[in-house]
Every structure is written in structure tokens, then in C-alpha cells.
């Protein structure tokens, strides 16, 4: 069901982990749906210098997390905000239809992490939305 590129990204995912003293954190999804994606960002002068992920989910969720974080490292936040789930799927050369939502989650996690960064920068201490835990 998965192509080689997806399996490779799942087999050897990049950017696994959590950045200490991150500048932005995005956590989306729900364990009861089978997917939680957390992305942490290190941002300098509005450029994403590092991104890491932690994901509870299927092979596609892990593959899209790896690919999406890889795609945004080195981009400005404006550029990163333009990364759509479609672009993540294209980079992975396709996902099975029932797994497209994983790429949507990746896009949402990036956006949430950047929003967190922007809010912090603007001095708005916005609580991360609590996600129901196991």
C-alpha cells in the first residue's frame, strides 16, 4: 500500500525528537483517532533553523512528520506557512487515499508551531490546547 519513498521515510525518519528550549511547539491530532503529531521549532530571525517531531501514529504519519520537518528546515516562517499537505504528499510521491489525513496533520502541526512562535513573539502567552492523553 505504501510506495518505497514512504517506506524509506518511515524506516529512517529524520528529525526525531524534541528541541530543548524550542521557539515554537505545535501538537495536533488525537490518540483516539490514532494520530498525534508534535513538532518543535528552533527559529532565528524568522528562519527555521531546526525542526523535530514526535509522532504517535501509523507509518504514513511518521513518514509525513519526517518529510514535513525536513521540508521546512532552512525556510523562513512565511515560506514554511505555504507548505501545504499536498506538497508533503508530492514529496513522498503519493499516499494511499485513507492516509491523506496524515499529511493534513503535518501541515497543521507546522502551522500550529509557527503560530505558537508568533504568539510568543507578540507576547501572547497562549496555552497549548490540551490533547487527551492515554
Amino acid at each position: 500500500m505504501y510506495n518505497e519513498k514512504v517506506m524509506e521515510a518511515f524506516r529512517n525518519p529524520k528529525n526525531v525528537g524534541e528541541i530543548e528550549n524550542y521557539d515554537g511547539l505545535g501538537k495536533v491530532g488525537n490518540a483516539s483517532c490514532g494520530d498525534i503529531m508534535q513538532i518543535t521549532l528552533k527559529i532565528e530571525n524568522d528562519v527555521i533553523v531546526d525542526a523535530k517531531f514526535k509522532t504517535f501514529g501509523c507509518a504514513a504519519a511518521i513518514a509525513t512528520s519526517s518529510t514535513a520537518t525536513d521540508m521546512i528546515i532552512g525556510l523562513t516562517i512565511d515560506e514554511a506557512l505555504k507548505i501545504t499537505n499536498k506538497k508533503v504528499v508530492e514529496t513522498l510521491e503519493g499516499l494511499p487515499p485513507q492516509k491523506i489525513h496524515c499529511s493534513v496533520l503535518a501541515e497543521e502541526a507546522i502551522k500550529a508551531a509557527i503560530e505558537d512562535y508568533q504568539n510568543k513573539k507578540a507576547g501572547i502567552a497562549k496555552e497549548q490546547e490540551e490533547i487527551p492523553m492515554v
Binding site: 504517535f56 501514529g57 501509523c58 511518521i62 485513507q98 492523553m133 492515554v134
Partner: protein, 395 residues
């Protein structure tokens, strides 16, 4: 790369001896069993012999064995055929909430046609709640159906007790024995069920052939209309090599069943013991009493990680397992069986079924446990629900 097959509940390999028995019926005895000439009579003779043998092996009469395309068709037929035949008597059916999709989705369709369906809950080990079953019986109940052994968690249900309850009320009983046949000593005359579904490929027989046992005298409508096959109750040219292989597979399985079961159960027990001892935050699903569990089945929930990623990680190492039920993979819903035994959706998502077979070895079991250990650590390291020190986060 070495490959290890631990998905015997999904299907099994074809026994070479079964294949050898079947092969002349592809190549030489190719007649239509319904034809009147010599070619047809030769084929018919093989079908009769297969039917006689299967009947003898399960304590039935030959004219109570109806060949089908497999378990799903047998289940469909049992449900739809009974509902249609007994529509004057009533329109209420009772079944367990952990039936195979072949039963549950059929029941859902029947509900749209006005059939009333009661699904009976199970306890945390997957045993049907008999008191709930008793309470569900109504004057218009026509059928109780409960699987003999569950395909996901391996729990063996108390079919004899269900039969006893049903008989007090004059209600028919069907059991889906697709997983149980070949693993348990099933004698329908002792068991007392009215209908029983089974399928050849679960015990080293060919795919695409199964049977429905229908006790003589039971009212039953046809599911598949056609010619005069199966005493006019199931149309379609008989799959001659299939039924020959089906009978031979069942014969060989029964012949060495006790020895094979002891061996397969020893592999399962070694696996369960090691996993429970060596991997933290796991839960064995299904019956704790190993006598009430299929000898082949070990079903584990691995907390904080998701089943499909475990499946594909093991697959990359050549190990074949199933996440939940093979039939529900591809869907995003967690398994209905795991929810029915009270698992949270999160735990249900992190569940893997390991089903062993007589071809597996102790060395393979140990290799799988070792591989599994590192797989689980790796995936937990990636999980936002688990931190690197192995402590649970945010619980």
C-alpha cells in the same frame, strides 16, 4: 532476508500433501460434477467422498455439509437464509458484539430490511455475557449466533451453554467456527448447534472453499440461486479440487491435532511469557486461561504507540503479523473486538495479533521477541506520549 510468518489466523500455507491430492482434479478429472457422463461422474465421486469425509470428521451426516466459497459466504448464508426462511416466525436475531465482519456487516444490512438485531456484550477477556444473552431473548427471536473462537483475541466461547439456553426457547443456533475448526475438536452432534461455518484455508487447505453445516430439518432459504448443486440449496459449479483439498486438509489436521496444538501452544506460551517479562507497558488481550484460548493466538496491546507502525516495522524485518484484524486494517476505526473488551481507543490502536503455526520454531519466537523489543523502544522514542527515560508523559 529471512521471513517469519506469524499470521496463521489470517491464512495458512497449503499443505504439500493436500496440494498433491488436489492436483489431479485440476488436470485430469476436470469434469463438471453435475454432468451425467463419465467425466462428470468421476468428479461427482470425488465430491461425494470429500463430503463423506468432512461429515465424518465433524460428527455430521454427509447431507448436512453444504460446500460454499468460504467462511464469509457461509456466514452470510446462515444469517440471510434463516431470516428469510423464518420470517413468519419472527424477525429478531441475537449475536455477540465480537463477531467477524462477515456476520456484523450482514446483520447491519438486514437491519435496514427491518430485522431486529441484538448485540450481546463480552467481558474483559472476550467471553460472551450469558446473562445478557438470556435477557435479550424475545418471543420473536429466531436465531442466536456466536463465534466459536474469536479471530482477533483467540477467546473460545461457551457454545454448549449457548445451545442449552437457545434450546429452552426453541431458537436456532449458528456458530462461526472459521478460526476454531482445525484447532479444536469439534463434533457438531455433541455440540448441538444447528449451523456451523468453516473454511479450508485456515487449516492448511486451499483458499476459496468452505462449508456450512446445516442440521437436517432446519428451515433454510437459498442464498445463491442456480443449478441443482448442493441438493438445490446452493447453486454454482462445484469447486472439485477445492473440496477434495478441503477434506484432505481437515483429515490431516485432525490426525495430528493434539500433537500440533501442544507444540503451537508451547510457542505461544513462550512468546507471551517473554513479552510480558521483557517489554514494559503491554497488555495481553483475550482469555488468560490458556485452555480457553486458541493455541495459536497471542494478542498484545503496546501502549503509547500505534499498531500499524509496529506492523510495518516488523514487516521490514521480515516478520508478518496483523494489527487488530486483517480485515479492519485499511480502515481508521479501531477494532470493534478490542473496544468490546473495554480497551480505550488509544490502546486498541496499539494492538498486534501474533498467530503461530506448526511451521514456526522456538528460535523464530526468540528472534521475533528480540526484534519486537527494539521495535517497541524505537517507536516509543518517537511517541509524544512517552519520553526517552521510559516514563509516561502527561498521564
Amino acid at each position: 532476508m529471512r521471513r517469519i510468518y506469524l499470521d496463521h489466523a489470517a491464512t495458512t500455507s497449503l499443505d504439500k500433501r493436500v496440494f498433491d491430492k488436489m492436483s489431479p482434479y485440476f488436470l485430469d478429472v476436470y469434469g463438471n460434477a453435475n454432468s451425467q457422463h463419465g467425466f462428470g461422474r468421476d468428479a461427482q465421486k470425488a465430491v461425494d467422498e470429500a463430503r463423506d469425509l468432512i461429515a465424518k470428521l465433524i460428527g455430521a451426516k454427509p447431507n448436512e455439509i453444504y460446500f460454499t466459497s468460504g467462511g464469509t459466504e457461509s456466514d452470510n448464508w446462515a444469517l440471510r437464509g434463516t431470516v428469510k426462511a423464518l420470517k413468519e416466525k419472527g424477525n429478531h436475531i441475537i449475536m455477540s458484539s465480537i463477531e467477524h465482519a462477515a456476520m456484523l456487516s450482514t446483520a447491519k444490512e438486514l437491519e435496514k430490511d427491518g430485522v431486529e438485531v441484538s448485540l450481546i456484550g463480552v467481558d474483559e477477556q472476550g467471553f460472551i455475557k450469558l446473562d445478557e444473552l438470556k435477557k435479550a431473548i424475545r418471543p420473536n427471536t429466531i436465531l442466536i449466533s456466536c463465534m466459536y473462537a474469536n479471530n482477533e483475541i483467540g477467546t473460545i466461547e461457551p457454545i454448549e451453554e449457548i445451545v442449552k439456553i437457545a434450546k429452552e426457547h426453541g431458537i436456532l443456533v449458528h456458530t462461526d467456527a472459521v478460526q476454531a475448526m482445525g484447532a479444536l475438536d469439534i463434533d457438531v452432534s455433541k455440540l448441538g448447534v444447528d449451523m456451523l461455518s468453516f473454511s479450508a484455508h485456515k487449516f492448511n487447505g486451499p483458499k476459496g472453499v468452505g462449508a456450512l453445516y446445516i442440521k437436517n430439518g432446519i428451515p433454510m432459504a437459498r442464498l445463491i440461486s442456480g443449478g441443482h448443486q448442493e441438493r438445490t440449496r446452493r447453486g454454482g459449479t462445484t469447486n472439485v479440487p477445492g473440496v477434495v483439498g478441503f477434506a484432505e486438509a481437515l483429515r490431516l489436521t485432525k490426525e495430528s491435532m493434539q500433537k500440533d496444538n501442544e507444540y503451537v501452544a508451547s510457542l505461544r506460551d513462550r512468546f507471551i511469557e517473554r513479552v510480558e517479562k521483557e517489554i514494559p507497558f503491554v497488555k495481553l488481550n483475550g482469555a488468560r486461561d490458556m485452555q480457553k484460548r486458541l493455541p495459536s493466538n497471542a494478542d498484545f496491546s503496546f501502549e503509547y504507540i500505534e499498531g500499524e507502525s509496529i506492523l510495518f516495522s516488523l514487516d521490514m524485518d521480515g516478520i508478518a503479523v496483523s494489527s487488530g484484524s486483517a480485515c479492519s486494517s485499511g480502515s481508521l476505526e479501531p477494532s470493534h473486538v478490542l473496544l468490546a473488551i473495554g480497551l480505550s481507543e488509544e490502546k486498541a490502536h496499539g494492538t498486534i495479533r501474533f498467530s503461530f503455526g506448526k511451521e514456526n520454531t522456538v528460535e523464530e519466537v526468540d528472534y521475533v521477541v528480540d526484534t519486537l523489543k527494539s521495535t517497541i523502544v524505537r517507536l516509543r522514542e518517537m511517541s509524544p506520549l512517552f519520553n526517552l527515560k521510559g516514563e509516561i508523559k502527561d498521564v
